[in-house]
């Protein structure tokens, strides 16, 4: 009976061997996949087991962490002045997940980033608890406050401000807004709060500065002017253009109308921008044709998503259109649509003598001990127009502020250039128009700020809505805040 016994011994050995092999497969080969499986609750438990790193503006954290009792998740995210900063931070919620910076830089904030590996291993040996790193943003607290407070009194809208010389984003505000602290935890009440916000018709969780595109209206005329100068249609901003009034759009019998009786017949470029002539810029677009117009628009960043590193929707300059549609597109109507960030980029390129810098909002990533893990260096994105042409355009935009539609953006002792826009929207212009204002400020040492403001003010009487009236004061306050903080 011993021979079958020996075989049984081997069989039992094989059973144990099979278990050993399976265990190696599970705990060695498949371990990472299983450990990071989306269903694995250890991942969120681990994520909220220690305070999350902070998002920092001007050296001060705008986020924090609070200990919660009686839950798997030990710490929850808190936000300082949440509604003001939420377009910058996004949210980190134990129940819902994270968005924007909270999501993109999650590995640094939780301390899981591979670049922190060495440090983490050291901490493990010394028995120190894992800590999250910090995200240092480029934002300017004073500018953000000016932008948010300016918008808050006026209903819906957004502001994007950029440092033209580096591309650093200085302000990014959106109203109505929400406080991400209200649903950072894991309770049903917080989930309900989120649901309510999500379904709100005013879309408080929409980041209008990056994710909403609006018809840019007359502010787009600076792009059309840049196209006219760059493609050599006109070279002198002070000589008369060949612009009839009234002007019937090519291939149609429809006149392109100006807003009121303004002197647009054969107006100079400077004059046309000052009073915002639809006829002059419509004709320029139509004369240049859709391809040249699109080329310039795309050099400014249209038709492309931006990553700052939060994704910004692509602004749109249409590809297929006939001549009258080209004319309409060139004055910021038809299908032309831009995010506030995009219009701030346009302004910043002009203010920076023609060089467009890549916009960004994360200056550096820090390890928990404040060592720099990654530092952003400004990058050139392109040269949509030459230095001379950029300076010509600056000249024109300064005229707009000094003696045109944008006088409300004036700041004593500072050179300011700008452009207003009042964009019609809705079927047959049935809805209240959007008020736009784009501008930059210049000092002796260069241009510290370019800003784009859009206000969707559905409450104001229709006739009161204008870029100059509603949006320009906000832009001025933002610019002033940046200038003051530079002193």
């Amino acid at each position: 009976m011993n021979k079958p016994l020996r075989r049984i011994a081997i069989f039992c050995g094989l059973l144990v061997l099979a278990l050993l092999v399976r265990d190696n497969w599970l705990q060695y080969v498949q371990a990472d996949k299983l450990a990071e499986h989306t269903m694995n609750r250890r991942v969120p438990i681990e994520r909220y087991a220690q305070p999350r790193g902070d998002i920092i503006v001007d050296g001060n954290p705008i986020t924090g962490s609070k200990k919660v009792d009686g839950d798997d998740f030990k710490y929850k995210r808190t936000y300082k002045n949440g509604p003001m900063w939420s377009p910058v931070t996004g949210f980190a919620s134990q129940r819902i997940g994270a968005t924007q910076i909270e999501s993109i830089e999650d590995r640094i904030l939780t301390g899981n980033d591979d670049r922190l590996f060495f440090r983490r291993s050291l901490d493990m040996l010394t028995g120190k608890k894992k800590e999250g790193g910090n995200v240092v943003t480029t934002l300017n607290a004073a500018a953000q406050k000016a932008a948010y407070n300016g918008l808050k009194g006026r209903g819906k809208g957004a502001v994007a401000a950029i440092d033209p010389e580096t591309g650093a984003i200085l302000a990014l505000a959106s109203t109505p807004s929400y406080d991400p602290s209200r649903f950072a935890g894991n309770t049903n009440k917080e989930a309900e709060t989120f649901q309510k916000l999500d379904k709100d018709r005013d879309k408080p969780m929409l980041n209008r500065a990056l994710r909403e595109t609006y018809p840019p209206g007359s502010t787009f005329k600076v792009v059309t002017a840049a196209a006219a100068l760059e493609h050599g249609l006109y070279s002198d901003i002070d000589s008369k253009t060949r612009s009839p009034l009234p002007w019937v759009m090519p291939d149609t019998r429809t006149e392109l109308k100006n807003e009121g009786p303004i002197p647009c017949k054969n107006a100079t470029l400077r004059e046309a921008l000052r009073v915002s002539c639809n006829t002059v810029f419509g004709k320029i677009g139509s004369d240049l044709g859709k391809d040249k117009m699109r080329e310039t628009a795309e050099e400014f960043g249209f038709n492309e998503e931006q990553f700052v590193p939060v994704r910004s929707n692509a602004s749109n300059f249409p590809k297929e259109m006939d001549k009258p549609q080209t004319a309409l597109s060139s004055i910021g109507q038809f299908e032309t649509a831009a995010t506030p960030l995009q219009m701030a980029m346009v302004t910043s390129a002009i203010a920076n003598d023609g060089t467009l810098m890549e916009p960004y909002m994360v200056r550096e990533l820090q390890a928990p001990n404040l060592d720099v893990v990654e530092k952003h260096s400004p990058k050139e994105m392109g040269n949509p127009l030459s230095k001379e042409n950029a300076q010509k355009l600056q000249d024109m935009m300064q005229t707009v502020v000094n003696e045109g539609t944008g006088t409300k953006a004036k700041i004593p002792g500072v050179t300011v250039g700008g452009k207003t826009g009042t964009a019609q929207h809705g079927l047959n212009n049935s809805k209240n128009p959007y008020a736009w204002f784009i501008s930059y400020a210049k000092t002796d040492s260069g241009s510290p700020v370019a800003v784009a403001v859009v206000v969707e003010d559905s409450n104001a009487a229709r006739d009161d809505i204008s870029g100059g009236g509603l949006a320009a004061p906000i832009a001025r306050d933002v610019m002033k805040a940046v200038l003051d903080s530079k002193k």
Binding site: F11, A18, L26, Q27, A35
Partner: protein, 475 residues
């Protein structure tokens, strides 16, 4: 020439050393290791030494000491490894059950489903004590395992009786879809765990008597030796009955265990490979038949094939397999450390059927491999006992018990690790459950008794009356 002065008989009373001191030394390790594990858990969870550490340590030490003294006195030549292995596994089991008692998540779960939470570790210590008591009883009253041969047919009746108990109305208790418990006072018992040992006695006794008939009086049919019905009949009937009962009780693991044990013992008894083929064929037929009319099985196969599929999870009503796999994965090579994992996410069976997942997460690949090797050692010591046994009954009983033990470990660990469909049994010694611990201590007791008989030196021969005559006559 001087050799002729000694006894001519070569089987002397010298024999194998008893190895009792080896056992004692190993037992010290088997008690100290769980003690350190307690310390580790306490420090990891609350930063201080656990209050019950001394109690559990003393309890485990006392049990091991009593068992050792009984073995030293009543089975001095028994295998020295089996008792320490059982003690170590039992001690580690107590630690991990105690660690899971500390889980707030499981406490809340218990409050939600039963209205109250009561810690499992003290009960497990009590069960372990009862188990050791049964072990001692086996040692004291079973002087020779061959006595069990007398009870072959009584064992058959007893096994079927035990298996039928849960179906008795009023006595049986349905817990989570399996009717395998009976309720006695405050305790619930799984009779199948005890039936395992009793049925091994029956198989061994019957096969020992009938093995020649089974092996030789057979007709050759398509390359297989088919035995006569009257030889195979009774054993087949018992086996089929236990399977059927277990299918009605939806205890698939135990049916698999009984079948495996039956094939192993039949093969050893008849020494015919054709039995393996025959057995595999029967098991295939059985599996397909059961799977076709038993929805319980289909669901488990689905859960095995695609444990992370949300549809499967909603069909089974639990994501235990997925949770178990994630626990193993999260443990990785070295584990998170005792007390620092989240294996309590598995839910209600975390400290019984799924306890191995906690070892996987908190001790990692290294720890689970060590545990599996401990089981492997128990099995191989059991088979070694069978090899050493001098009587066919002892051989069959030892190989049956150790084979059943191996299959149980394989089925449970394989199910928890997703190697085979989950069938629901407990990991011997380490899982929470009274019947399991008690029955397995009895199993170790029987194995020790057989090994004692096997390794015991033959009695010294009677003095040779011729010795005087062959003496060299000195001049």
């Amino acid at each position: 020439m001087s050799s002729s002065t000694t006894h001519t008989s070569t089987i002397g009373a010298i024999g194998a050393p008893s190895r009792r001191n080896t056992e004692l030394a190993l037992l010290v390790f088997a008690v100290v290791i769980p003690l350190f594990a307690y310390m580790n858990v306490g420090l990891a969870i609350s930063g201080e030494l656990p209050p019950g550490m001394l109690g559990y340590g003393l309890g485990l030490g006392l049990l091991a000491g009593v068992a050792h003294l009984v073995v030293r006195k009543f089975a001095p030549y028994a295998d020295p490894l089996l008792l320490p292995l059982g003690t170590l596994l039992n001690g580690l089991g107590l630690v991990v059950i105690w660690r899971l008692d500390q889980s707030e998540r499981l406490q809340q779960l218990a409050k939600a489903s039963f209205g109250a939470f009561s810690p499992s570790a003290p009960k497990q210590l009590l069960y372990s004590a009862v188990g050791i008591a049964l072990f001692v009883i086996v040692m004291l009253f079973l002087k020779d395992h061959r006595v069990l041969q007398r009870y072959t047919y009584i064992s058959m009746v007893a096994a079927i009786g035990l298996l039928l108990l849960p179906l008795v109305p009023g006595l049986g208790k349905n817990i989570y879809g399996a009717k395998i418990w009976i309720q006695v006072g405050a305790f619930s018992i799984q009779p199948a765990e005890f039936a395992k040992i009793v049925i091994a006695v029956f198989f061994a006794g019957y096969l020992m008597v009938k093995r020649d008939a089974l092996a030789l009086a057979s007709r050759r049919f398509m390359g297989l030796y088919l035995p006569r019905g009257r030889d195979l009949g009774p054993i087949l009937a018992v086996w089929a009955m236990s399977i059927l009962i277990l299918v009605f009780e939806t205890d698939l693991g135990t049916s698999l265990l009984f079948f495996g044990m039956f094939v192993v013992m039949l093969y050893v008894a008849t020494e015919r490979t054709s039995w393996i083929v025959f057995g595999l064929l029967m098991s295939a037929v059985g599996a397909v038949t059961v799977a076709s009319f038993e929805p319980h099985v289909k669901v488990r196969v689905d859960a095995w094939l695609d444990p992370f599929n949300p549809d499967v999870i909603s069909a089974t009503g639990t994501d235990q397999i997925a949770q178990s796999l994630m626990a193993f994965g999260s443990g990785g090579t070295l584990g998170s450390g005792l007390g620092q994992g989240h294996s309590d996410l598995i839910g209600f069976a975390a400290n019984s059927d799924f306890i191995l997942a906690t070892y996987g997460e908190e001790l990692g690949l290294a720890g689970v491999m060590a545990i599996l090797m401990l089981y492997g050692l128990i099995v191989e010591r059991g088979v070694r006992t069978a090899l050493a046994a001098r009587d066919p009954f002892g051989k069959l009983l030892a190989v049956g018990l150790s084979g059943a033990f191996a299959i149980q470990v394989f089925v449970v660990a394989g199910g928890v690790m997703g190697l085979i469909p989950l069938t629901g049994m407990t990991m011997p010694f380490i899982a929470y459950g009274g019947s399991s611990v008690i029955a397995n201590w009895a199993l170790i007791g029987v194995l020790l008794r057989i090994s004692d008989t096997a390794r015991r030196p033959a009695p010294s021969p009677a003095p040779n009356p011729d010795a005087e005559m062959t003496q060299v006559v000195r001049p």
